[in-house]
């Protein structure tokens, strides 16, 4: 009797436990089912952002091209967005962007690549451990600070060498932009070079090469895809850079190739026009989106090119 009772009690206890567990599980089950859906919804926000960007840019750009012919926009060398006889030609902005990017890359590519070579091939472990965080600081400085630096230090410095340099010019922000991009080119190139296996270096060294020869004949060719991708990403960054050029290059919309002159980039135009109370619905307001769309397409092409290069030409070791 007693025994049975205990057994029965245990039985009910286990049954209770299972029932209780099942009840708990149903709460858990709901979570189990809710969570993936919620997370998926959250994950689609990034896609919605892209769609939002595309939609706003495309619709307003479409409105703009109803008012201004697309041919005039892309071939026009005159940009006078204000006043009664407003003329919208994007070429002055394109040359401004192009020239500042070229100047920036003339600084960033050689210095960035040499820095990468030094860090990856020459520097001792100790030197690398000190230098790399310092370069990261350089990369972490806000662009507005670089803009201030270009305007209040680099421009006056350059003017003491180049007498014809205007107080606002494209040369100084171009150079500073290049300095800003050095850490990016350096660290991406260095990653590419560090992933070249040591056995290849040792092979070349054993044949009697100097370090320089190893670098240029073995490491650089092996890492070339990553290095080029870093250049392309740098270019994309330079095209999209805003505050440095806005502050230090002024807002002159001249169509010129003279680097001592003030020029406006696409990004600086967007800042100037949107900051200046452009009323919604006007051609001026729509021009903002046409320029931004052009800018977006340029940077998108560059980013996809960088991804393509590093994927297509990567050599796996």
């Amino acid at each position: 009797m007693h025994k049975q009772n205990t057994a029965g009690q245990i039985n009910t206890n286990v049954r209770d436990l299972i029932a209780e567990k099942k009840k708990k599980k149903s709460v858990g089950n709901i979570m189990e089912k809710l969570v993936p859906g919620t997370l998926l919804a959250i994950a689609t926000v990034s896609i919605l952002t892209t769609i939002g960007i595309l939609l706003t840019l495309i619709t307003e750009t479409f409105l703009f091209f109803k008012e201004v012919s697309i041919v005039d926009f892309f071939t026009g060398t005159e940009l006078k967005p204000l006043g009664d006889n407003a003329v919208f030609g994007v070429l002055p902005l394109l040359t401004g962007t192009l020239i500042s990017t070229v100047i920036a890359m003339l600084v960033a590519i050689p210095i960035g690549l040499m820095t990468a070579i030094y860090l990856s091939e020459y520097a001792s472990e100790k030197a690398r451990r000190i230098l790399k965080p310092l370069l990261e600081i350089l990369a972490g400085i806000p662009t507005i600070v670089y803009g201030f630096f270009a305007f209040t230090f680099v421009t006056p410095l350059l003017r003491s060498f180049i007498p014809g340099l205007e107080p606002t010019n494209i040369l100084s922000p171009g150079i500073v932009m290049g300095i800003m991009i050095i850490p990016m080119v350096a660290s991406l190139s260095e990653d590419a070079m560090s992933s070249v296996p040591n056995s290849m270096r040792e092979g070349a060294l054993a044949l009697g090469s100097t370090k320089l020869e190893v670098t240029f004949k073995v490491v650089l060719p092996a890492a070339i895809s990553g290095i080029i991708a870093s250049f392309v990403l740098g270019i994309s960054r330079a095209i999209g850079e805003t505050m440095i050029v806005t502050i230090a290059s002024g807002s002159s919309k001249n169509f010129t190739f003279d680097v001592t002159q003030s020029m406006q980039t696409m990004t600086a135009y967007i800042v100037e026009v949107s900051g200046g109370e452009a009323a919604a619905g006007t051609t001026l307001y729509h021009s903002l989106y046409a320029v931004a769309f052009t800018l977006f397409v340029f940077t998108l092409i560059m980013n996809m090119l960088a991804q393509y290069i590093s994927r297509r030409f990567r050599e796996e070791y």
Binding site: V45, S46, A123, F148, T152, T242, Q307
Partner: protein, 294 residues
């Protein structure tokens, strides 16, 4: 058979070694160039600005009079902005990362989201500014208040948080998950109780770095139309506001008119850099102190 001419090798050796040495020197100088610029930049900013930083400068409101101008408004604005950016970008970023790493099946959707995130990371910040202007400021009719700016910024730095969180989650070793499943835990229980706690240091580090990027961003907020006028101190996320970088921007632009504005801009930069330095130190501290290596 004599394939190597020893004399020739000997003759060339000297110049090869010399070239190697010269190149090494050149590469080192190139590396030091970046650091030299960093030193000059920081020196200039401190020289121009440090003397202007005192209690009044931090505590005063904006003023056209350089002697009385302060940055309390910009500090509060930055604070409220971060109060919007941090939770929004963390929820979106960590949620996306968990979905991509734990739930998404390898396939089209996952590839689309992943590619999309890396492309978003390359979109210039002014374009995000236009998105914010169109959708939040005008579309939802929020006006240029903290909330609109914060949402714009959150989307801008989202890719940084997603990528950092993904890396942190991926670094959690499989045996921890398997042990949890072995104890009868469900997938969500495993993620909540095992994966997230283990990856938290990495996620936090990434988030702080993303926030420090947001604190220094200027362009999107200028595009949204933060006024250069004297506005009352912001009291919450529905107020109009200004932030430190935007303040630096306007003072730098006007420094041609009032020479002292250069000093005010420099002083504000010093404050901004100190804030950034503190945030990065916290990030590095978390990474070193709490990150476990498995």
């Amino acid at each position: 058979m004599k394939s190597i001419d020893h004399n020739l090798v000997q003759k060339k050796m000297g110049s090869r070694l010399l070239r190697n040495k010269m190149a090494k020197l050149l590469f080192m100088l190139a590396t030091l160039f970046g650091l030299l610029v960093l030193i000059v930049l920081i020196y200039r900013v401190i020289r121009d600005g440090a003397a202007w930083i005192d209690f009044d400068f931090i505590n005063n409101k904006l003023s056209t009079d350089p002697e009385r101008a302060g940055i309390m408004g910009a500090i509060l604005g930055t604070f409220w902005l971060m109060l919007v950016v941090a939770p929004v970008t963390m929820i979106l970023g960590i949620g996306t990362a968990i979905y991509l790493e734990e739930y998404a099946k390898k396939g089209k959707l996952q590839t689309i989201i992943q590619t999309n995130i890396s492309n978003l990371a390359g979109v210039p910040s002014v374009v995000f500014g236009l998105l914010g202007l169109t959708v939040f400021v005008r579309g939802m009719d929020l006006g240029n208040i903290v909330l609109a700016g914060g949402l714009t910024m959150a989307l801008l730095v989202l890719p940084v948080v997603v990528v950092a969180a993904q890396e942190a989650i991926r670094a959690v070793p499989g045996f921890l998950r398997e042990a949890s499943y072995g104890m009868g835990a469900t997938k969500w229980q495993t993620i909540k109780n095992v994966v997230l706690p283990a990856s938290l240091p990495g996620i936090l580090t990434g988030t702080i770095l993303a926030l420090s990027r947001a604190i220094g961003e200027t362009a999107p907020l200028v595009v949204i139309g933060i006024p250069a006028l004297l506005i009352p101190l912001p009291d919450g996320i529905f107020d109009k506001f200004t932030i430190l970088p935007v303040q630096i921007y306007y003072w730098t632009l006007d420094s041609a008119l009032v020479a002292e504005y250069t000093n005010l801009a420099a002083a504000t930069i010093v404050i901004l850099l100190v804030v950034l330095f503190l945030m990065n130190s916290v990030a590095i501290f978390i990474r070193n102190k709490f990150q476990q290596r498995y």
